[in-house]
């Protein structure tokens, strides 16, 4: 198996929002424990350097992505980006002292909604997580959870009353999670909320939420604020999880049926060797 750092180098990571007038000409940040600089030239072209190395760079989903590999895996696709009626909302970046994998896993969990996002994404006593389906799509190499249903008092900024929201989750890369959920305004389309995670190092990450919504009414500030509010509620939990890294061995954190997506995610990470930010169980010690 490839070592976790080498495996992590094959992917793309978000480091900025394309149209961010406040980004300095030379913006210093970190990816996979390396100091890098994102440089914006006079004519607007972008480049990423790490010491003497020059890293790959691309733009997608309103974000600037970089990869240390000369030959990275293709960036995952979100076909809905071509639906021009959607409103595309980059929500900024929030730094969190937790493993990048923990941030993705928390996003995949719905059981915490009533307790962490009380009266917004969940409420007591509506705490039951009904059975849902999880698959690993071998052709696309993605984790997919479908038929996830949950009662939500305020599913989105545009929701006026509680609705049973249906969710589909996609994990197309180890540090990206995409959520499709019932659109409160329309029943023929799904809203999209993504979490793009920048691995600062194995114990720290920066999270760039991005949304593609059908919402004609809410102001940009309202939509961004709603997402930031939700994420800041999560941040508090994430920073208090112990261990900081995501345990891969099922014996270390006991899952329940509601955690099927997380179980599949951990298995998929293990299978594909994407263990940067994971806690790998030391070799079994004998019982004596």
């Amino acid at each position: 198996m490839m070592n976790p750092v080498e495996r992590a180098k094959q992917d793309w990571y978000p480091i900025g929002i394309v149209s961010d007038p406040r980004r300095p000409k030379r913006y210093a940040t970190r990816v996979l424990g390396k100091d890098i600089v994102l440089e914006t030239k006079e004519e607007g072209s972008l480049s990423v350097s790490c010491g003497d190395e020059s890293w790959e760079i691309t733009e997608a989903y309103d974000h600037i992505w970089t990869s240390p590999s000369q030959n990275p895996k293709p960036l995952f696709s979100i076909p809905e980006e071509n639906e021009r009626d959607r409103r595309f909302v980059p929500c900024g970046v929030v730094h969190v002292r937790c493993s990048p994998l923990r941030a993705v896993e928390n996003f995949l969990d719905i059981a915490h909604f009533p307790f962490v996002h009380t009266d917004v994404l969940g409420s007591e006593p509506h705490t039951e997580v009904a059975p849902y389906k999880v698959n690993i799509d071998e052709t696309k190499d993605e984790v997919i959870a479908t038929k996830v249903k949950f009662f939500q008092p305020q599913a989105a900024k545009s929701a006026n009353e509680g609705i049973v929201t249906e969710y589909i989750y996609r994990v197309p890369a180890p540090m990206t999670a995409i959520l499709y959920k019932t659109c409160p305004n329309r029943d023929d389309v799904l809203d999209i909320i993504s979490l793009f995670v920048q691995p600062i190092d194995e114990d720290n990450c920066a999270v760039w939420p991005w949304m593609a919504l059908y919402d004609d009414e809410s102001s940009m500030a309202d939509m961004v604020e709603f997402q930031q509010l939700i994420f800041l509620q999560d941040r508090n939990i994430l920073e208090n999880q112990i261990p900081k890294r995501l345990p891969i061995d099922p014996k270390m954190e006991i899952p329940t049926r509601a955690d099927l997506t997380s179980v599949a995610y951990r298995r998929w990470l293990k299978k594909s060797g994407a263990l940067y930010g994971a806690l790998i169980q030391p070799a079994e010690q004998s019982a004596e």
Binding site: I17, R22, P90, C91, G92, V93, H95, S219, L232, R235
Partner: protein, 232 residues
């Protein structure tokens, strides 16, 4: 609607106004301003409303307030029928004490508030220095609240909460957002912890991200048949 609040959900200073309005039961119009990432509070439109370029902003008719402490004072004088949140005019010493701790709340914004912004959004600061000053501020409050407790006073200036308590509360409660630097966690401050419980117990208390409500027993949890201790 009694007033307009230009608000950012993650701001501790905006939360002071939201919290006090909830405690007083005052309805107001809330306009969200995208502090991050758009820095909308520095935009031309917003600077025309308040040249200070900060949040929150409270407006009523011609009056525009950009200092949170002034907002709390105005709200207390305008809406507080109990007269407890701002001491009455016959007690200048009590008023002076409230003003003193309102000033201290400004120190908390400049220390814990700035360190928290750095943790969330990587705003450039001298982090080591700001964290050190944050811990100094927390220790000062802890010492004061400990002395208050010897006189059976649960709040900063006495037996009842004032606007000084609300002004100091958010950034003290949010210090855990800053990091795991020694001296920022509440474990070391028993008097502060008790005070946080008192404020969270106030009728009308509302949470914000990073400041949770105390757990309340729901009806199904309070079922007496479940709580019965079996005999023998």
């Amino acid at each position: 609607m009694e007033f307009t609040l230009y608000d950012y959900a993650l701001s501790g200073n905006c939360y002071k106004v939201r919290l006090f309005a909830s405690i007083l039961g005052v309805n107001y119009e809330k306009i969200s301003v995208e502090f991050h990432p758009a820095a909308e509070h520095k935009s031309e439109t917003m600077l025309q409303i308040s040249p200070a370029g900060t949040l929150p902003i409270l407006t009523v008719g011609e009056m525009v307030l950009s200092e949170t402490q002034a907002m709390l004072f105005w709200m207390a004088k305008t809406y507080d029928r109990s007269g407890a949140w701002w001491p009455n005019n016959y007690d200048p010493m009590a008023q002076a004490m409230v003003l003193q701790w309102l000033g201290f709340s400004g120190d908390l914004t400049a220390t814990i508030g700035q360190a928290r912004l750095n943790s969330l959004f990587q705003t450039p600061i001298d982090r080591a220095k700001v964290v050190k000053c944050s811990v100094t501020a927390l220790r000062r409050l802890e010492a004061h609240l400990t002395e208050q407790s010897f006189e059976q006073k649960k709040f900063i200036t006495g037996v009842f909460p004032t606007i000084a308590d609300l002004a100091c509360f958010p950034y003290v409660a949010l210090s855990g957002d800053v990091g795991t630097d020694p001296g920022l966690e509440h474990d070391s401050y028993p008097a502060i912890r008790n005070w946080i419980y008192e404020i969270k117990s106030l009728p009308g208390f509302i949470p914000m991200p990073g400041i949770f409500e105390m757990h309340q027993l729901k009806d199904h949890e309070a079922d007496p048949t479940i709580r019965q201790v079996p005999e023998g």
